[in-house]
């Protein structure tokens, strides 16, 4: 009795097998009722929408500010969700498989360990992606509704005041720039990219840490360091000229080598302020994120490949 599979190859990264594990992880998370969070998000968006801001300085300034507030609140919540979720899910799933011995049954099948890791992280990222997509959709609908409303309001006000056509056009341009633009979608994608990196970091940590809590805390710490290290490097560079000690300078250099520079993702804030996202920026950030995700996944594999259970 020869098994039909003995002839199929068990090389690494067989797409079908990775997909099976990824989809399974996705289902697992969905059935953990993760999407309930989305209803909370919907509430926040709606609440932010009805939040009236203090009127001041005449209408030429509020319009833009209102949209900015709506965007920054929603983007903030999206980012919060993406980062918290990706860290918690990645840090929980691997130890859970070990603890429940489900990992034994998976690795006892002809499944290379790399496929297992890639499948897990892909499943988590898929869920983050889908969640962000849904939130983005809701956000875009609310924002475009709000923008149109504002446009009608402001322009009729301006016309009533007898503004020149040029002034009205300028106003219109300013409002539209704050509405749902492609740049805005780009910024949501940047949130995804950033959470992909931090997810890969959590994966790496969870391959050698023995405690879920440790993984979660350390991942958040790395997230913070990632934001800080560029500032710190600039700061110490500035003070180094004034003669600060060599130790701190070396340390910050090391930090900036090891940890990802999350400051680059502050483009999200710029987009909220209405600065257009360039295609070039999206491509560079995607490339960089891909580099990090591949790097950290490979390192995870390096640790995981001969791990014993």
């Amino acid at each position: 009795m020869t098994s039909q599979n003995s002839k199929t190859s068990n090389r690494w990264l067989q797409p079908r097998r990775v997909t099976v594990i990824a989809m399974h992880t996705f289902t697992q998370l969905v059935r953990m009722k993760v999407f309930y969070f989305l209803s909370v998000f919907a509430l926040i968006v709606i609440a932010a929408n009805f939040l009236d801001l203090p009127q001041f300085n005449g209408p030429e300034a509020i319009g833009v500010g209102e949209l900015q507030m709506l965007k920054s609140t929603c983007m903030g919540v999206m980012k919060l969700f993406a980062v918290v979720f990706v860290i918690a899910a990645t840090a929980l799933l691997l130890p859970k498989d070990v603890e429940d011995r489900t990992l034994y049954t998976i690795l006892a099948k002809p499944v290379p360990r790399l496929d297992y890791l890639v499948g897990k992280i892909a499943g988590v990222l898929l869920l983050v992606f889908v969640s962000l997509l849904l939130m983005d959709l809701l956000m875009t609908v609310v924002l475009s509704f709000r923008t149109n409303h504002l446009l009608v309001d402001q322009l009729s006000w301006a016309e009533a005041r007898g503004w020149t056509q040029e002034a009205i056009d300028s106003e219109r341009r300013d409002i539209i720039a704050q509405g749902p633009t492609w740049s805005f979608q780009g910024a949501v994608f940047a949130i995804f990219l950033q959470s992909a990196i931090i997810g890969a970091v959590a994966l790496l940590l969870s391959t050698f840490s023995t405690s879920t809590l440790f993984t979660i805390i350390l991942s958040f710490l790395i997230y913070l360091i990632g934001h800080f290290q560029a500032d710190a490097a600039d700061y110490y560079k500035a003070t180094a000229e004034a003669g600060s000690n060599a130790f701190t300078t070396t340390m910050t250099k090391l930090l900036s080598l090891i940890f990802p520079n999350f400051q680059l993702f502050n483009v999200i804030d710029a987009v909220i302020e209405g600065i257009p996202m360039t295609m070039n920026a999206i491509i560079s950030l995607t490339g960089l994120s891909l580099f990090y995700v591949v790097l950290y996944t490979m390192l995870s594999w390096f640790v995981f490949s001969d791990k014993e259970f």
Partner: protein, 286 residues
């Protein structure tokens, strides 16, 4: 067919070293060797913590041997390919609680590259085999211990492997469930599947196994064919029905007259409690 070697373990040694207290190593398995021919049912018995599970994990490549080698149908256990022909049921398995019985089998089947109609047929067939057709679409979170063990067995068999490795297949399962699992193992043996199981419930091992190895403190103490190991060569057992006390007395005198033979005991044979329990619950069911 019988001459093919399904499992070969040679001089397996496994030391566990805690990374933080790295000096003193704990030797879980100490020079174990065994060989299982295709088609055999092999039982590894021993008290808790004697190295049974570690031996199995080494065979599956879940732990790397400190020295020695393991192979399955001639393929090194550390290679992924060795797992094409093996199914594993871990001790006290918890599968994904969010999946139903059918989804669980589908998931493991897909991991083994099964798909489409072939996979669906296999899932149905296996659920029937382990008697879980009714629980097909129930989530595993609601399964009993025995059902989990059976879905675990089905999962291990999903790609139709030639070798099954079962770690304490009946631990924590009630006698009826345990009987079902035992019957399943018998069925599998009849189909020509090699089974390597370990247990500390000796009676069960006795019922299903052809070969037995006794492992104690990481060392193999005794190994061989079950019949050879447990037969008591210098004793004979006679079981009679409706024997009168007079006949018994006659036998006793006859034996006393023989110089070389000694009568050890006479009396009513007892059924085992397990057999009694099974018989009674079987009647109640009907």
């Amino acid at each position: 067919m019988t001459s093919e070697t399904a499992v070969e373990i040679r001089d397996l040694v496994k030391d566990f070293r805690s990374p933080l207290r790295g000096v003193k190593a704990f030797r879980a398995v100490d020079g174990v060797s065994l060989r299982i021919q295709a088609g055999e049912v092999y039982g590894l018995i021993g008290p808790n913590g004697s190295g049974k599970s570690t031996t199995m994990k080494a065979l599956l490549g879940l732990v790397a041997p400190s020295s020695g080698t393991c192979s399955i149908f001639g393929k090194d256990s550390l290679k992924v390919d060795s797992r094409n022909d093996v199914g594993f049921l871990p001790e006290n398995p918890y599968f994904y609680k969010h999946l139903t019985g059918a989804e669980t089998l589908r998931f493991y089947g897909k991991l083994c590259n099964l798909r489409g109609k072939l996979l669906e047929n296999r899932v149905t067939e296996l659920l029937e085999l382990v008697d879980l057709t009714n629980a097909r679409d129930r989530r595993l979170g609601g399964y009993s211990k025995g059902m989990l063990q059976r879905i675990g067995l089905a999962q291990a068999m999903v790609q139709d492997p030639r070798l099954l490795i079962l770690d304490e297949p009946t631990a924590g399962v009630d006698p009826i469930g345990s009987r079902q699992i035992r019957d399943l193992i018998m069925t599998l043996r009849d189909r020509g599947i090699t089974v390597f199981l370990c247990s500390h419930l000796l009676e069960q091992v006795q019922e299903v196994c052809d070969h037995v190895g006794i492992i104690f403190q990481g060392k193999m103490v005794k190994e061989g064919r079950l019949d050879d190991l447990i037969a008591i060569e210098d004793q004979t057992e006679v079981v009679m029905k409706n024997a009168s006390p007079e006949l018994m007395e006659k036998i006793r005198t006859l034996v006393e007259q023989e110089e070389s033979a000694t009568l050890l005991r006479m009396g009513k044979p007892r059924t085992t409690l397990e057999r009694l329990f099974l018989r009674e619950t079987q009647i109640d069911k009907k």
